[in-house]
């Protein structure tokens, strides 16, 4: 069966409800508490099994086949390979400082940072590869033949180039890395192809990039005007009046809220555009993907999550994976067909353990 083209049926559909997910979230929380956090890995696997199983693509559900044990083993490996050595190097760093070798300590810190940069790249790649390898549709899984070590170098030097150009080349590095990551991935016998471009999103990035400068200049001008009008008049040595103090504090607070509010909003317009461009440039066989979330959608999604966590004093955080996944699926689109009789099982090597390194570096999904 190949056709799925009627205009109002979407290729991706989420059929779960938060009410059905609630028992999973709360029993996960209970078990996490009584196992001092050890159950986290099994909780994550159970959440994913639920979310995947309620996600329909064309005519059938997805299935998550990863296990809590895999994620746990991934974490243990990451702990011994990275967390522990980094902890020891950190101790050495402190010790070098205390022993009066600030130069050596600085060198060690830079080396540690560079190593971490490379490893974050490897971890991002491997996390995506792991997730695809554990995602089943029609009995077919995804994966990648690459191990992610080459991607790690690419991530390393592209991030470095972006840093050298005072982050002006960030959209370029983001788009390139997205392409490299997805071009190395496959689903069954089909390869993903991605050709995301940085040019279409550069304008919005520039807006985000230059806004802080504009805001600081505007604030400086405002302060200058206030000073010449005598609002901030204050002879050195004398105690400022309550009115002056309140004015300054209120202005500072307003600036803070405005600065980060506006900056967050503009960052969101960039991110929304980047994600539309990146997902829209990705295809699998004859299947073309798209992502339809507007800036408004992202902002509402983000504010909703924030409100959920604050109103419930943090307990609502257990519903964030659910929210993240449904937001993603709700806006994900696919056009074209899948020819089922030519889609064969993947021959990529399935990784043995979970995304431990990504946990270790605290890097988010996708």
């Amino acid at each position: 069966m190949t056709d799925q083209t009627s205009a109002d049926t979407r290729a991706f559909r989420f059929t779960g409800t938060w009410q059905a997910y609630a028992p999973i979230a709360f029993t996960n929380l209970l078990l996490m508490i009584v196992t001092l956090g050890l159950y986290t890995f099994w909780a994550r696997a159970r959440t994913r099994r639920y979310l995947w199983s309620r996600t329909r693509f064309i005519d059938d559900r997805l299935e998550w086949t990863g296990s809590g044990l895999e994620l746990f083993i991934g974490y243990v490996i990451a702990f011994f390979l990275f967390v522990l050595p980094f902890g020891l190097v950190n101790l050495g760093l402190q010790s070098a400082m205390m022993h009066g070798h600030p130069g050596a300590a600085g060198l060690l810190a830079i080396l540690m940072y560079l190593t971490a940069l490379y490893l974050i790249g490897v971890a991002r790649f491997r996390a995506l590869r792991y997730r695809l390898s554990r995602t089943l549709w029609h009995g077919i899984r995804g994966g990648s033949d690459a191990q992610g070590f080459a991607y790690g170098w690419s991530y390393f030097w592209k991030t470095f180039v972006s840093f050298l150009t005072i982050y002006l080349m960030t959209p370029w590095s983001m788009a390139r890395l997205w392409n490299e990551r997805w071009n190395a991935m496959s689903f069954g016998s089909l390869s993903f192809r991605s050709a995301a471009r940085w040019q279409p999103v550069f304008g919005r990035f520039l807006l985000f990039y230059l806004l802080p400068v504009a805001l600081v200049v505007a604030f400086g001008a405002m302060a200058a005007v206030m000073a010449t009008n005598g609002v901030l008049d204050h002879t050195p040595g004398s105690v400022p009046t309550a009115k002056t103090v309140v004015t300054i504090v209120a202005a500072g607070l307003a600036f803070y809220v405005f600065f980060f509010g506006v900056l967050g909003l503009v960052a969101m317009t960039y991110f929304a555009a980047f994600f539309r461009e990146a997902v829209g440039a990705t295809s699998l066989g004859t299947l073309q993907f798209g992502f339809e979330a507007s800036t408004r959608d992202w902002v509402l999604f983000y504010l909703g999550s924030l409100a959920l966590v604050i109103v419930t004093f943090g307990v609502g955080a257990i519903f964030l994976p659910y929210r993240n996944w449904t937001f993603f699926i709700r806006h994900l689109a696919a056009y074209g067909e899948v020819e089922l009789d030519t889609l064969l099982q993947s021959h990529t090597r399935a990784p043995g353990q979970g995304e431990g390194m990504l946990d270790a570096f605290d890097v988010g999904a996708f």
């Binding site: 001092l36 099994r49 059938d60 299935e63 702990f79 010790s95 022993h99 009995g139 899984r141 009789d341």
Partner: protein, 361 residues
């Protein structure tokens, strides 16, 4: 679709869909029981025999009527209509929570885990006090060297001040020739005991103190930490807690860790105060200036301190002041810890160039 062959006549059977894990085609099949296993019959062609024991369980939260096959990734079977009882009893039970929890049931497993967790936490909290005392002093000193080097010794060295400090330390604790007290030029009102039993007083405290007796009380308190092996104990407890709570999501683990650790540190602080009170009494130094010192600290942050008492790592300054004041004996003949000239010298211990930083590799 159902074209019964001679082989399965009369055997229990059920309609099912099937993915073979090699291609994405969805097949309509009939599962036909044969002994301890089954065959999948597709359009009259019977497939290979598989044992029921090879089936892997379905997801209890998802479609509970789908099953996999061991050693064949992607192989799936799902029942379409009702499943005959003869087949249903041979299917593996759905998994939900994973491993042990599925086996024991949610509530029993949760209770068992809670008991184990309580025991583990109790062990990690209680054993450092015993273990810290078994760590040889020489080892602790070496550990201190590795961690902080000669941080404390690189402090202020103005000779007359150094002599006054030595005299003050000897006055409070004449029995310990290994005692090391140093002053570093930092503007904080604080004093610390480093691993290895080295005491460091910050210059800010000397400047904030109004008499040598106040400094004597603080040094006595730090000596209490050295004798109690408190630094070693807290290092061990931190290590244990960070391993134990390592699996918790970032902040939750960190906060729990800090909360448990500070509860213990308040106990250690109170004991160190008791030790200081005894040392002061033995040396015939009045505890009242130390009490006044804490009173001044308390005035600085009175309301805030009471509010954060549970998360503070020190007892309340006002309570500590009261305790020192109570310890003063009415008929005792107190002698200042050091004389005025020495006190002035001590406060000037950081005069001169002391905070030169060199780049060394």
């Amino acid at each position: 679709m159902s074209a019964p062959s001679d082989v399965d006549a009369g055997a229990p059977a059920a309609a099912a869909w099937h993915y073979d894990g090699r291609s994405a085609l969805r097949r309509q099949v009939r599962l036909i029981v044969e002994g301890d296993g089954f065959r999948l019959d597709e359009d009259g062609r019977a497939g290979a025999w598989q044992a029921f024991a090879q089936l892997t369980p379905a997801d209890g939260d998802g479609n509970a009527r789908t099953f996999g096959l061991q050693g064949q990734p992607g192989w799936r079977i799902g029942f379409i209509g009702p499943v005959p009882a003869e087949i249903a009893v041979r299917l593996p039970r759905a998994r939900r929570y994973g491993g042990w929890v599925d086996r024991f049931g949610l509530w029993r497993a949760a209770a068992a885990f809670a008991v184990l967790a309580a025991v583990a936490v109790a062990l990690v909290l209680q054993t450092p006090a015993l273990v810290a005392r078994m760590v040889p002093a020489s080892l602790e000193r070496r550990l201190g060297e590795v961690m902080v080097g000669d941080f404390g010794r690189k402090g202020c060295v103005e000779p007359v001040g150094t002599a006054a400090l030595a005299k003050l330390a000897n006055r409070i604790d004449p029995d310990d020739p290994t005692l090391e007290v140093h002053v570093v030029k930092l503007p904080m009102v604080n004093a610390v005991t480093l691993p290895g039993g080295r005491i460091v007083i910050f210059d800010g405290l000397l400047q904030a103190a109004r008499s040598p007796d106040e400094v004597a009380g603080v040094i006595g308190h730090e000596i209490g930490h050295v004798r109690g092996r408190d630094v070693m104990e807290s290092l061990l407890r931190q290590l244990g807690l960070s391993v134990l709570l390592g699996g918790m999501e970032g902040h939750v683990g960190g906060y729990t860790n800090a909360l448990l650790a500070t509860a213990y540190s308040r106990g250690a602080e109170a004991r160190a105060d008791g030790y200081a009170i005894r040392l002061l009494a033995d040396a015939r130094v009045s505890p009242l200036p130390t009490a006044a010192f804490f009173d001044r600290l308390a005035k600085g942050n009175a309301s805030g301190e009471r509010m954060f008492a549970y998360i503070a790592n020190h007892p309340l300054s006002a309570d500590r002041a009261a305790r020192f004041r109570r310890s003063a004996a009415g008929d005792a003949h107190y002698v200042p810890a050091i004389d005025t000239a020495e006190w002035l010298a001590l406060r000037g211990i950081c005069a001169g160039e002391t905070d030169k930083m060199e780049w060394r590799f």
